[in-house]
Symmetry: D2
Subunit: 381 residues, 4 copies
């Protein structure tokens, strides 16, 4: 059913057994544009769950693994072995499988953040992938067409010199103490890393700002809190940002903001204009040329005078018909399929360097917050 | 990759060759939840296009047909023949294939409206499907979770006795004379039927009102226009509605309303409260209990006090992360897969009766408009 | 405190005693820009209420009248008599005072609709005002700056030839049976006239469409309902409109739409673009040039390329700081003050002709509804 | 025309001559509810402008002063002298007149910030007003009904223990170098004080947060910028806030954010719920009880279950009909009129202590920003 006229890429998955959230998202993303076929998995550290989950997904019993190292070895040796693997485990289980598959010459699609520690992230960066295996970090918000449209308009100078970035990601699901599979590992420093909210969604907000603006961070000043009694990691994040070249920013991420479900949003202003985008209405974006009325850009809709549509924007259906989170996610998968097939990299896709920077960002924020919000550089940590 | 632990249903497609819009939508919908595998097609009336389109979709050459009758015969005879077929041709080419596949014992998924003429629609209704083959009409807006939530809340009496329905579907793409594959057949009475806008999107608006409210039409009074010079079918539709039991409604559909991309929306009011929903923000719905503040319901989000979530609502990802048009469409496919596998009908899925009523609605509107907006019953036409 | 460098105009009021709503609105509107001084009143038909209400408003006891005829005679004879009078009584009490003051040479500011019967409205139209006394009908929505901006843009052809008008005015306060001073006279045919909702807010919607578009009505087809048991006048209004020249429209007014407080809104589309405005966010208006992104115009804000601000738009404070209903109302008062001072008419201000047309509109809608929604011209009734 | 049954309060004005913005706002606010009569003024430091501006406002020539000291002396000595004065000069000219009139026993209504220097603000605080003259600082956003509603709901514990405050005030009018009467004094440190954006609008944001939450500031960490070349004061403000008791906040104020006209907005979250309000739609407020759908509260509209309307909320017209900036401003004037008439203070009205704190806030932000965003207490400066 591949739309691109090619046979499907054979895909494996690590993590994503029954009860997981992000694994199901990755599978839909892999299917949506018809580029992948899931044929192997180490879906759970629990062998029984691994087996039953595989069966439920139509994976042949002999390709249902309980151990990712065994899976990497075995699949690399098969003539019909997987060509790519999706790693959808909790944070502390990203680096191990990523290393194993890259060293086995299998392309890696890895959920974010790259790791729960800066040290292990750096180890991964030192790995030499066999046969040029590629790496994709699923910072999925970068797949939204209007996010890319903004990135292009900024690169073309439509906003002029950037001055101010306001980015945020509020949620409310951890407003009170919660215990379930999703909450448990995210609030356990052993699995999520020293950061809680900062790692789970703060990194998304940071990556979104970096991706859209192209600005590099000079330093940050952070104030992290853990509002719920007994919580071991932060659940609310306030950060001031200084970018190289003089632009400034603020970043707010929270898991304790009642009324907010999953609300990443960003506003970027330069000396010629601004753009404003929020995920809860992802098919719209404000373009605010200074001195003119605001223009409401839509996914696939009419362009402002003189602007052009973003290259590679994953638009599947006409303007007005809403696309969403799954389509944005699928766009990363579809574009990575092209990378796999052609060997040509795609500058829009987040990779290892973004992953390292994300983990540095977490570390710098925690360091700054512990030091009374001292301005801290990424390179310091 | 099927999530339901079963092998995938073998699917064929009629129409949907290169350049088609709705065919690609059906294919994504079929893939999204992993229930179908496209293995055969009569993708174009043009044999060369049929062959190359099939190849591009990974369909084996011997299952790329130029004629749907041949396809129905041949596939019904194969041991591994298709179990279901998606019909995504222009309106005048729905009934022929639908009859052929139903009579061959193959389940049918058919785009709307059912037909370009009332006569042919009635013929189809008379067909006896072989082996209990099922029929799905893709009134895709009924797949939105909040549309179903509203339907359930209305059925449970949360709005009280219904009084007023305001439904609309404005677009702007035919504001001027346009010529392309999509526009050409939709403005050609031979292919689209006597109705233009009324058939293409007016039927969606009508079906949405019927699906959500459960109200039956008593009569309608219509005023149809064709604003663009030379256009042979209507491009703007004003209708007043009288429902059995006393509720009243207004329906506006337009292809000449600049600034509107694809904007179906509906507002329903009873003596205890109202609901308001619009496709451009499909993950939200207003619930307006009389005498209390408006409540913003979200897909998968918190429920109003005392309400419960709709059964069968196709929610794949957490509240806040937007789903859209493709997910709603995919929900119809996923639920029809369950019907195929279990043989048990699903009252939420639009079927032949809805298709007949849609064509009657078109005919009644045209009749009323020609008779100076005389109140006209569906049964009259 | 007059901002215009002139002494204030001496104002009287008929109606508006304690407990009235619209009387207080008129008084704020009269004060806001400093053009009027309230010095006399026949504030209530009840002499005690008239006297105490006058005292509460600082009106001298000898100018607190119980009878408007006496007030007109007495004030006209005083050297310091009122120059203008505001009539803020229920509908059936507009024509009597309006005639008395016009014949006494006193300018009249009259609430809408002009009258509860077409016959009395026509009698008023035949009155010869003494000394050129002027008449203002407070169709207050015409005072909103962006309503006027749209009017000008339409007049200048920015939307091209108009095709479609969607106008509505939903409320919910009469969803159930209600008894209070405001509800009682509005649902009593003797005081409000044969129309309920159609007269109270339907006329506002109609006037708004006429004012903004400049289109003249060819005929209407109406379906009026009275949903609440025992209610003697309509509470929900569905109307299809045909304008001279070929444009079409729909008008919905309702007092039984839960969740809607006071929601007049209008959408107007031509072959070059559209505008959309709603009172609940009166400082914004969508301008939708065909083939370009929507532009969000703001009161006092930046103009679309090539457009100019509306003349006479009553903008008091910078863009972003919201103005509202009272400011729009006050603009009518301020502009009428200029008419009084200079004697020069202002084409933007609604007058007697608008009042007559409004009462004709009510009559035509009722006639059409009684005749199974037959298309009815204003001139027929 | 006073609605309160009393004669009007005799009002004077310092500043507000022709070309001024805020003076005209104060005059409308004073007139709107009919409590004041403007009878004297020192409207400009330029004697000719003072005289002609007074004439244009209907002030008698002998009460048009060129010097505020003379005005204070003379008016205090007249039997019909002013009872209150509105001070609407640039920041550096607030303290002088305020002292003069308070010492003359005349009530003072003063625009914010209280002063351009902390020193002079403290001097004013030491003044002993004659005859118990009262002081009102026009932090006008506190007059919005829904701002007060939120304040009351927070005080009643409807949000639980407060945790997070996000407040902002973006504008765009100083995105480029601008020269006009409004811009000139605001960007001149001699007149505006050391703060630019922080003083002009940052103080409004801070006051709004303080007023609504009742939280007291522990310390702040600020990063101020002046983005436009040659500008001598800040035009963009990033601040992190720590409140006593543990709540945290972020404050953004900017004059260089294209597309933002006058956009103060605030979001407040506690462990039981949140509220969100923005000035551009001031008649709405989100109430977000944790675990339930968001509720849209409206000015004068239905209350959430169990909540009650705020006392003293200045609601003049029914829900749905929008009120705005001028009405909120007028509410402060109307309530101060009651204070003047009765001698009873009103805890909702901002006074001298708020003024001092505002100037301290400016000083602390500037100090923190100069010290690499060191956390700074108000008491330190």
């Amino acid at each position: 059913m591949a739309e691109h006229g090619s046979r499907r890429i054979r895909l494996g998955m690590v993590g994503g057994g029954s009860g997981a959230f992000i694994g199901a998202v990755h599978r839909i993303a892999a299917r949506l544009d018809g580029d992948y076929e899931l044929v192997a998995g180490a879906l759970s550290a629990n062998p029984d769950n691994a087996k039953s989950s595989a069966a439920a997904l139509g994976i042949a019993p002999d390709r249902a693994y309980a151990d990712y190292n065994e899976m990497a070895r075995t699949e690399a040796a098969r003539a019909d072995g997987i060509e790519a693997v999706a790693i959808v485990t909790p944070n502390h289980m990203h680096v191990g499988p990523a290393r194993a598959f890259l060293e086995a010459g299998i392309h890696v699609i890895c959920d974010k953040p790259l790791s729960n520690t800066l040290e292990s992230a750096r180890e991964l960066a030192a790995v030499k992938p066999r046969n040029g295996a590629k790496f994709l970090l699923t910072h999925n918000y970068t797949g939204y067409p209007l996010v890319r449209q903004a990135r292009q308009m900024i690169a073309e100078g439509r906003l002029g010199t950037l001055r101010v970035v306001q980015v945020e990601y509020p949620q409310d699901w951890l407003t009170v103490e919660v215990h379930n599979k999703q909450a448990d590992w995210r609030t356990d420093p052993k699995r999520s890393g020293a950061g809680g909210c900062i790692g789970d969604i703060g990194t998304h907000a940071y990556n979104l700002a970096r991706f859209m603006t192209g600005l590099e961070l000079e330093a940050l000043s952070a104030d992290l809190d853990s509002f719920v009694a007994g919580r071991q990691v932060d659940d609310n994040v306030h950060i001031m940002l200084r970018f190289k070249g003089g632009a400034k920013g603020m970043l707010w991420a929270s898991q304790v903001a009642p009324g907010n479900e999953n609300g990443p949003s960003i506003r970027i202003y330069g000396d010629k204009g601004g753009v404003e985008w929020m995920q809860i209405e992802p098919n719209k974006m404000w373009f605010c040329p200074f001195g003119e009325p605001r223009q409401l850009m839509t996914r696939g809709g009419a362009m402002p005078i003189g602007a052009k549509g973003a290259d590679g924007a994953g638009i599947r259906i006409p303007a007005g018909h809403p696309e969403g989170y799954l389509e944005a996610f699928a766009t990363l998968y579809a574009e990575f399929a092209r990378v796999i097939r052609t060997g040509a990299d795609n500058a829009l896709l987040p990779g290892l360097a973004d992953g390292i920077e994300g983990v540095q960002f977490i570390a710098a924020a925690i360091t700054s917050s512990k030091n009374d919000s001292r301005w801290t550089r990424l390179g310091e940590v």
